[in-house]
Amino acid sequence: MSIVSSYGTDDQGALAHIIRYVLPNSLLNSLALTAGVCLLAGAIGVTLAWLTVSCEFPLRRFFAWVLFLPLAVPGYVMAFAFVGLFEYGGSLHSMLRHYRADSGWLLNVYSYGAIVLVLSLVLYPYVYLLARNAFQTLGQRSIEVGQSLGLSVRQSFFKVALPMARPWIAGGILLVAMETLADFGTVAVFNYDTLTTAIYQAWFSLFSLSAALKIAGILLLLVVVVTVLERHSRRQRQYAEGRNAARNTKRLQLGFGAQTAALLFCSSIFMLAFVLPLGQLLYWALPNLSQELTVRFWSYVSGTVLLATLAMFVVVSMAVALAFIARQKKGLVVTSAVRLATLGYALPGTVLAIGIFVPIGYVDHWLQSKGLSSGLLQGSLLVMMMAYSVRFLAVAYTPLENNLLRVTPSIDLASQSLGVAGMAMLRRVHLPLLGPGIVTAMVLVFVDVMKELPITLMTRPFGFNTLAVRVFELTSEGMWERAALPALAIVVVGFLPVYLLIRSTEVSPSVRASK
């Protein structure tokens, strides 16, 4: 970690205090939250993936793609929309009381369950994405194998399809776990204490950097544990990839009852994760439209698109390079380095942003001492892109790595024996084979950068604003109604890439199917 202490040594009191009063609760909360979100997001993601890939029911194709859309909703936006909907005096309570109905049964929005629900609703798309990938590759065939061994369809799902898809599902859940551990914006809306909020408290309220770093160390330790668990399940992925497993488009025909259940489940997730929060945002945004919809608003939109596009190319290129280095040079050192490089995803954004600023500060000073004015620190795009790379490498790397596993080493040799090596091989063999993975990586990075806040806030050039920054400026003053329009715009801008992603996973070329 590059953050170095510059405070005095008056940290003992702060540390003792944190260990006694803050740590037990926030550690427990972090663990409970991560476990809850992984379970719920995992269950939602896997169920939806299975239904939309392997079963046939009315509106299946529609749900297959709209259920991706919550990917474009930032956690903090979902959080304040939920508070607006469910808090006492919020939209739903008021509506029910207007009709003199009992509103006591509504979700208590400040409960543990509500926070788990909100985080799960924004994070399940990661699991959904990867689980769909798995079921598309081996879904129907695995059920047929199960049936041929005398299992029912349901038994085949649990005994054959699910275990075979486990490495993919674990990959998705890892991303969910890392996001949950690093989250600040969402839990802050609910005033829920986690390790991340404890880091902020130690650093910015108790002014103790060393205590903050020690908590960050615990957080990282948790991430390493989760990563190792995920690695463990991924080891078995190779066997799961059936050779020549042709993609099967035959789907299970559900009975009437099962169709209704599937339809009901998909609609309720879609309602909760998308229709309701967006409705609340619209309800807030419309009366404030004239106030917010100014020339500046459009500059936020263009700034967001510009930044996300640039970051998308930079981060994905780096991830591709990393994937190839890891492929060419297998070994513990390289593997560990890759793991390390992707850990940034689990660090709270602010910690990461400052952690990047400090070494750049040193470089800047050093250049200055050599008589060079680097201007590195001046909110330059370079710093921004570096920070984004550290933060989002894991997001870009995961889908690439999944696809790279499909490229067997003898494919490289075949290419070489035909006289095609080096960059030509990268261009003619590897990049096309990685195609779908690259599209997925680009979309995930685009959407994530668009939603990202702490790094953008800290490193953006002067006068350069994004929609997320605007949402922050307004919500930090409690002006949620006015923040609704930029928040809505983030979601809308996210539609296009998410749509492209769905297209690329739905109409997949043969690559997915063969080895």
Binding site: A414, L418, G419, L433
Partner: protein, 260 residues
């Protein structure tokens, strides 16, 4: 007395030569002091149990692996001599892999066309079509690899290796994943194809039926060395020692041989 390189390489009979080649690792030599020659247009076969270094030898010839010592010559040029080696992509050697390794993102025709980057697009397509026709797959040019049967994938891999007209084609257990009946049929066809195009080929197998069906020259590998290299007739009728005789004579599958 050391022969000059030109003297050795210029002998017409020795279109392809391997001299005193050793492969494996510093800690564990798989094959030591291998010597054999192939004339232009002939087919050689290395026969031996799995895990004895046959494939490693083949990969060293292809340039995927460094040899420990020795020399390799092809058509008057050295490919490999102590301290220096020609990169795989510059050796002009085609290879057919055990698992075929077709490019999954390219159709059958595009796979065959892959190595024809030196030609103009129409010429390359015409040539790829020609070779796809040669292996009997003229009607499958648009098919993607996963849509082809194992035998068809094998033929595409063959056409892909032959299309750039390499000076030498290497085949690594090319028929091992096909069923027995089909294996013999295809090996006869491939031999005819090689003979018709005057292709020089070297193949590796552990199945002596395959070896005798395909090859002009056979080398028997056992006990970490090349025990005999001769034409098929002599290997069968005049084995140099008991182990070669046992193996070839009894027609036993040679799955478990003697290698350390």
């Amino acid at each position: 007395m050391i022969h000059s390189e030109h003297v050795l390489a210029s002998k017409a009979k020795n279109y392809f030569s391997v001299e005193q080649l050793s492969v494996g690792y510093e800690s564990r030599i798989l094959l030591a002091d291998v010597n054999f020659h192939l004339s232009k247009g002939s087919i050689g076969c290395l026969l031996g149990p799995s895990g004895c270094g046959k494939s490693t030898l083949l990969r060293a010839i292809a340039g995927f692996e460094q040899s420990l010592q020795g020399r390799i010559y092809l058509d008057d040029n050295w490919l490999n001599r102590p301290g220096r080696t020609v990169a795989a992509e510059h050796r002009n050697i085609g290879m057919v892999f055990q698992d075929y390794s077709l490019f999954p993102h390219l159709s059958a025709l595009e796979n065959v066309r892959f190595g024809l980057y030196g030609l103009s697009r129409p010429n390359a397509i015409a040539k790829a079509r020609h070779w796809l026709g040669q292996v009997g797959l003229a009607n499958k040019e648009k098919a993607m690899p996963h849509e082809l049967s194992g035998g068809e994938q094998q033929r595409v891999a063959l056409a892909r290796a032959l299309a750039p007209e390499p000076e030498l084609v290497l085949l690594d257990e090319p028929f091992s994943s096909l069923d027995l009946e089909f294996r013999e049929k295809l090996s006869r066809e491939v031999r005819e194809l090689f003979k018709a195009s005057n292709t020089t080929a070297l193949m590796v197998t552990h199945d002596q039926h395959e070896a005798f069906a395909m090859a002009d020259y056979i080398g028997v590998i056992n006990n970490n060395r090349l025990e005999q290299w001769d034409d098929a007739y002599h290997v069968y009728h005049q084995p140099v020692n008991q182990s070669v005789a046992d193996f070839v004579g009894q027609g036993v599958f040679f799955e478990r041989g003697n290698c350390r």
